[in-house]
């Protein structure tokens, strides 16, 4: 006699941070210095990221994701960032685009794009920064003009993370005095992608210089409200990006701490080891304290994002500001503790040092955050 199991299959489980930690330790860290030097995350690692369901796990199940909450996403990006900031950067920008399609896309855009994005096919890149723009998006050197029912996109984006790999670009362009977001296939006629090499940090994140020469787009290329992308698509995506970068920075602090705990316990200094030295102990204490504090700030930002609380905007700025600056200090201290050992071409702490500096620049520079967070002083002191 046979019976038929009529129960619905269990929904796919969100990625487990513990399993991702093992993946980082066994499959990334043994080879990260080599591929960082090659300035390219290997294809087989990208496939493993797909197998682990890490590209956009926050997407709902009906769109190919696992409905992973943002607190867990922060832990996942911390773990990946502990192993490789370049790979974490690819997750960041792909996640920003995927989330934007889910949040601001119409039903057709969601149905058409999200199942593929959930699996990293294609990978996506976030095209905001122009060659002269930096953090000031008001001078974006890209514009779009109405053309019949569609648009013609012309312009130039630079330092686009994952641009060499991406099959889909989310491009921000001036439309008159306002800004609109466009979904642009990488193989659209008029799109030219040029790899950028020799970058200071996140060297394997496959940055690109991208030009758009009279790229013709249909009306369905517009994502979100036309003319108000700055306050909606751009800001909300960058908000997620800040949570991811902050979490990756926690990972950098963790990697610095691990490297320093090992070397200070064994490297002779005077009659003892480095770990006996008071000034070295201060550096280790700061790494431990800052990692805990930064992780809590990321968890708070994730929790507010999970509940759509408007406070997430400020919380993400605070988390990114604290974590990125703490990561830069931790990585600098790690190189100092390692001495000449930390200055070699394949030194892990040298890579952390270069990557941490980038964390202070992307997704809003440290200086922007130092200026903007002060606006919230009144809110902070009001019961």
């Amino acid at each position: 006699m046979t019976t038929t199991d009529t129960r619905e299959p269990a929904p796919p489980a969100p990625p487990d941070p513990t399993r991702v930690r093992e993946f980082v330790d066994t499959e990334i860290r043994p080879r990260v210095e080599e591929y960082d030097e090659d300035e390219r995350v290997p294809d087989d690692l990208l496939r493993r990221v797909t197998e682990l369901g890490l590209w956009a796990p926050f997407l709902p199940e009906e769109h190919g994701g696992t409905g992973t909450d943002m607190v867990t996403l922060a832990r996942l990006h911390e773990e990946v960032g502990r192993g490789c900031s370049s790979l974490r950067s690819l997750l960041t920008v792909h996640g920003m685009v995927s989330w934007s399609v889910w949040r601001w896309g119409d039903q057709d855009q969601r149905d058409r794009l999200l199942p593929g994005l959930a699996a990293g096919r294609p990978l996506a890149a976030f095209c905001l920064t122009g060659p002269e723009g930096g953090s000031d998006t008001s001078v974006a050197a890209t514009s779009a003009e109405p053309d019949g029912g569609g648009w013609v996109l012309t312009g130039h984006k630079k330092w686009i993370t994952g641009g060499q790999l991406a099959g889909l670009f989310l491009v921000f362009a001036r439309t008159g005095k306002a800004m609109t977001a466009f979904l642009v296939p990488a193989d659209a006629p008029g799109v030219t992608v040029r790899p950028l090499s020799g970058i200071l940090g996140t060297r394997a994140s496959m940055l690109a210089d991208i030009r758009f020469d009279q790229v013709r787009l249909g009306p369905d290329a517009v994502l979100g409200p036309p003319g108000w992308a700055a306050a909606t698509v751009m800001t909300s995506a960058l908000d997620l990006g800040r949570l991811s970068v902050a979490s990756g920075s926690v990972g950098i602090i963790g990697a610095a701490l691990e490297a320093c705990a090992e070397v200070t316990a064994t490297r002779p200094s005077g009659d003892g080891v480095l770990a006996d030295r008071q000034l070295v102990r201060r550096m280790l204490s700061d790494m431990i304290t800052n990692r805990r504090a930064a992780r809590l700030l990321c968890a708070e930002a994730g929790r507010l994002r999970d509940t759509d609380d408007p406070g997430v905007v400020t919380a993400s700025w605070v988390a990114k500001y604290f974590a990125a600056t703490a990561a830069a200090r931790a990585a600098s201290d790690a190189v100092q503790i390692h001495g000449a050992l930390g200055c070699g071409p394949r030194s892990p702490v040298a890579r952390l040092y270069r990557d941490a500096k980038v964390m202070e620049i992307i997704e809003g520079s440290t200086e922007l955050q130092q200026t903007a967070i002060a606006d919230h002083a009144h809110r902070e002191v009001t019961p």
Partner: protein, 86 residues
């Protein structure tokens, strides 16, 4: 209800900018200190207040430019919808 909504909106804005003496019809974007971050907070505030997403065709700068405009948006989008957060 309309007065309650207006009061909530006013409280949200002045909680962020306490130096502001706010007229309900005043264009807050014309005051010079509203940036895209606060505009995003306004969108999230309205959505949290309504418990629904604001449709893309209602996501326009002018719909968030004053207490009166935001209250009208809340009324329009929230018709038939119970507010689940506030």
């Amino acid at each position: 209800m309309s007065q309650d909504v207006r009061a909530e909106i006013r409280q949200f804005i002045t909680g962020r900018f306490p130096q502001l003496t706010l007229d309900d019809d005043q264009d807050i974007f014309a005051l010079g200190f509203v940036n895209s971050l606060f505009a995003m907070e306004l969108v999230m505030f309205v959505e949290q207040r309504l418990g629904v997403r604001v449709p893309n065709d209602e996501l326009r700068r002018e719909n968030f430019s004053s207490v009166t405009a935001i209250a009208a948006l809340v009324e329009r989008v929230g018709t038939g919808t119970e507010a689940t957060a506030g």
